[in-house]
């Protein structure tokens, strides 16, 4: 990496820059750097941090010694009786659910967001339509949880006040317990996530699409390319870097996601995710060792994206 030259004007004394940085650095060290180190340390200790994690091992059961909390964090939800049970239990564990969340929510938000950005570009009420799609971004997860719990409401045999079940019964179907039927409920929660975050990807992708030079698009149209062809082989490749940014942001969001699950199902009925499980271990079971171990697993899952972010920053700096 090339050493950047520093303009003369920036030389304002040795101490001055650090005075400007001091408040931010102190607060960030205290609230982000120190706790991260401490969390890693605590994850090797027992329930209340008084003895090493290996002390919690039980005789005649498999034990990972000092990594016992990780043993719990990684395998407690799985059933290793056979390959088949292990596979099945994975898909209802917090990890399996997080994988579902990542796949469906990232695809959902990017595909709908991109489609809407392209379509809304062709109508006169674009601004209004976009702010409606974007609006859930202003709402809390808790508020969204209430809104959707009402949509998913599972009423009595005669009265359905939940919109979705009312539609189903009006069409002659049987009402569905959306939030307590395993498999269906995770999908139902992911729909809420997509509803909240599509506005984000739509806005960013829309800005990228508008920045695609019109000459290129016009040239392709003159050459007889269909609209689909223009979209798929010209626009998408040009905005691919932006799509990558949206995807990574979304994956990070999903991994950290806590509130929707906490409010709507509390992680019951097979909807557990990593972030909620960590909360449960720490503040409901009061097991600091296990809770922090889950947190460390979470940060390990996020490290590639930290790396990606820094990489992207460095590339941008090269261009500047």
């Amino acid at each position: 990496m090339a050493k950047r030259t520093v303009p003369q004007i920036m030389r304002q004394g040795r101490l001055a820059p650090w005075l400007y940085l001091a408040p931010a650095l102190v607060v960030m060290t205290f609230f982000i750097v120190y706790p991260m180190v401490n969390t890693i340390y605590l994850s090797f200790l027992n329930k209340n941090g008084t003895a090493p994690a290996s002390a919690t091992c039980v005789e005649s059961r498999p034990c990972w010694g000092i990594f016992e909390n990780y043993h719990y964090a990684l395998t407690a939800e799985l059933n290793f009786d056979s390959v088949r049970t292990a596979w099945n239990s994975f898909w209802v564990s917090s990890y399996g659910n997080n994988v579902k969340w990542i796949i469906l929510m990232v695809t959902g938000t990017v595909v709908i967001g991109l489609a809407f950005a392209v379509l809304a570009d062709r109508v006169k009420y674009e601004a209004l339509a976009k702010s409606i799609i974007f609006m859930p971004m202003a709402i809390s997860f808790v508020g969204a949880g209430v809104i959707w719990k009402f949509v998913y409401d599972y009423g009595t045999q005669n009265v359905q006040i939940g919109l979705l079940n009312a539609i189903i019964t009006a069409l002659g179907g049987k009402p569905v317990a959306w939030l307590s039927t395993p498999q269906i409920n995770t999908i139902a929660l992911i729909v809420v996530g997509v509803w909240m975050w599509t506005g984000f990807s739509m806005t960013i992708l829309s800005a990228a699409l508008k920045a695609v030079p019109t000459e290129i698009i016009e040239a392709a149209r003159v050459d007889g390319a269909s609209e689909w062809k223009v979209f798929a082989s010209i626009m998408v490749p040009i905005i691919l870097p932006t799509i990558t940014v949206v995807v990574t942001t979304m994956v990070i969001n999903v991994l950290k996601l806590f509130d929707i699950v906490y409010v709507m199902t509390g992680g019951n009925f097979g909807t557990e995710v990593i972030a909620n499980r960590m909360y449960t271990e720490m503040y409901k079971n009061f097991n600091v060792g296990r809770g922090t171990a889950v947190a460390v697993v979470l940060i390990i899952a996020i490290i590639p994206f930290i790396y990606f972010n820094i990489q992207r920053f460095l590339e941008q700096e090269e261009i500047r």
Binding site: P17, P35, G162, V245
Partner: protein, 398 residues
């Protein structure tokens, strides 16, 4: 040009119909859940649990049956026969239920059957007609819309009636005083609103202030490790909050900061900073260099340049950040749950409590949720421009 649109324009219009259809359907799907919440929050509790919110503009219960069985003689408004005026409460009071209603309908009037050629209504239909008559005669006319849910939510009323009724009748619940002080009842959303505001305002100002300082240093001052320190900062943006909860709450316990506003302000400041500094530095770095050169040449110190030049020019970035941080803190549940909990409940905490503990009905829940969304919505729709701009500049915080 005047008068008839050209053939091209007509073709363009019809060619766009699928696009319009797709855009409008998506918009409807997106907005209908929220509309449902809003409508429900204004409906009386009996109605909320009996019919879906989408029936709110359909005719009241029994109206159709009335038209079928009674309207031909009594008239659409029930006043056609002066001796049997169905809007007269005195008359309708005699037939409060389907049983009395059917008995009366079976009797002859002036030697002829009451109903003439029309068959008798079923028991259910008679009950519906009876409730319809009570409505048009004014005996019991539940309003379509009410603000009682909002009043009850604000003061934290949990009784079986409504706050206004209980206070009017004088037998109020123990923790209700029936005066303005109820707005600060710890169980109510009024108090939670104040708490949310107390949490949010300093937690939005502090990180912006610190970020302006640090962003200035990163953009326009030279120091050793400037580049790498900033790269680390970019990495810190995605550190999950959950990582830090346990160590911080242990420290707070020792320092006596658990359950205090100060603790939450500082925590949000710490977590808001990486993104805020990133945005601030990128914005300040894009200001023209001549500006700073001439300021320094004129003898301005870095401090003068900071508060006379940087702060006024950075206003757009400050606005973006302010909205971001405001929405983030206002909507946060996890931090409030862990560090404030029930001692100083904020709005998200109160709502999540109502949801997870069974008991609070939909009418309270929907009104509370809408109360909590009110301020973010106002901020969002009035300052959307800045919000979008900030998001496009950073696009990483979540």
């Amino acid at each position: 040009m005047n008068g008839l649109p050209s053939r091209d324009r007509i073709n363009a219009f019809f060619g766009k119909i699928p696009t319009h259809f797709a855009v409008i359907s998506l918009v409807l799907i997106w907005i209908i859940p929220t509309v449902g919440l809003l409508v429900t929050s204004f409906r009386p509790v009996q109605e909320v649990n009996r019919t879906g919110w989408w029936t709110v503009f359909s005719p009241p219960r029994g109206a159709e049956d009335y038209d079928q069985f009674c309207a031909s003689c009594h008239g659409a408004d029930g006043k056609e026969i002066p001796t049997a005026d169905l809007t007269d409460p005195g008359l309708v009071e005699q037939f409060p239920r389907s049983l009395q209603m059917l008995a009366m309908l079976r009797q002859d009037i002036d030697g002829k059957p009451h109903m003439g050629d029309i068959p008798l209504p079923s028991a259910q239909q008679a009950a519906d007609i009876s409730s319809y008559l009570q409505r048009i005669s004014g005996i019991e006319a539940p309003p379509r819309f009410t603000i009682n849910n909002y009043v009850d939510a604000l003061v934290g009323y949990r009784g079986t009636n409504t706050y206004l009724k209980d206070c009017a009748s004088g037998n109020q619940p123990v923790d209700i005083n029936c005066n303005i002080s109820d707005l600060l009842n710890p169980r109510g959303m009024g108090r939670a609103f104040v708490n949310s505001l107390i949490v949010t305002v300093p937690a939005s100002i502090l990180p912006i202030l610190f970020a302006a300082f640090a962003g200035y240093a990163f953009a326009w001052l030279d120091f050793k490790g400037r580049y790498w320190l900033f790269a680390i900062l970019v990495g810190l943006q995605v550190v999950p909050l959950q990582m830090t909860l346990v160590p911080i709450s242990r420290l707070y316990a020792q320092m006596g900061l658990n359950g205090t506003f100060l603790g939450v302000w500082l925590f949000h400041t710490g977590f808001g900073l990486p993104y805020a500094i990133y945005l601030m530095r990128n914005f300040l770095g894009s200001l023209p260099r001549d500006l700073f050169e001439s300021a320094y040449l004129d003898g301005a110190s870095h401090w003068t340049a900071f508060y006379k030049l940087v702060i006024p020019l950075a206003m757009p970035a400050i606005a973006s950040l302010g909205i971001f941080q405001f929405l983030w803190v206002w909507n946060d549940l996890l931090v409030a749950l862990v560090f404030l909990g029930g001692t100083r409940p904020v709005m998200t905490y109160q709502i999540s409590n109502m949801v997870t503990s069974l008991g609070a009905g939909w009418q309270l829940l929907t009104a509370s949720a809408f109360l909590s969304m009110l301020l973010p919505m106002v901020v969002f729709f009035s300052l959307q421009r800045y919000f979008v701009r900030g998001m496009l500049a950073g696009a990483v915080k979540g």
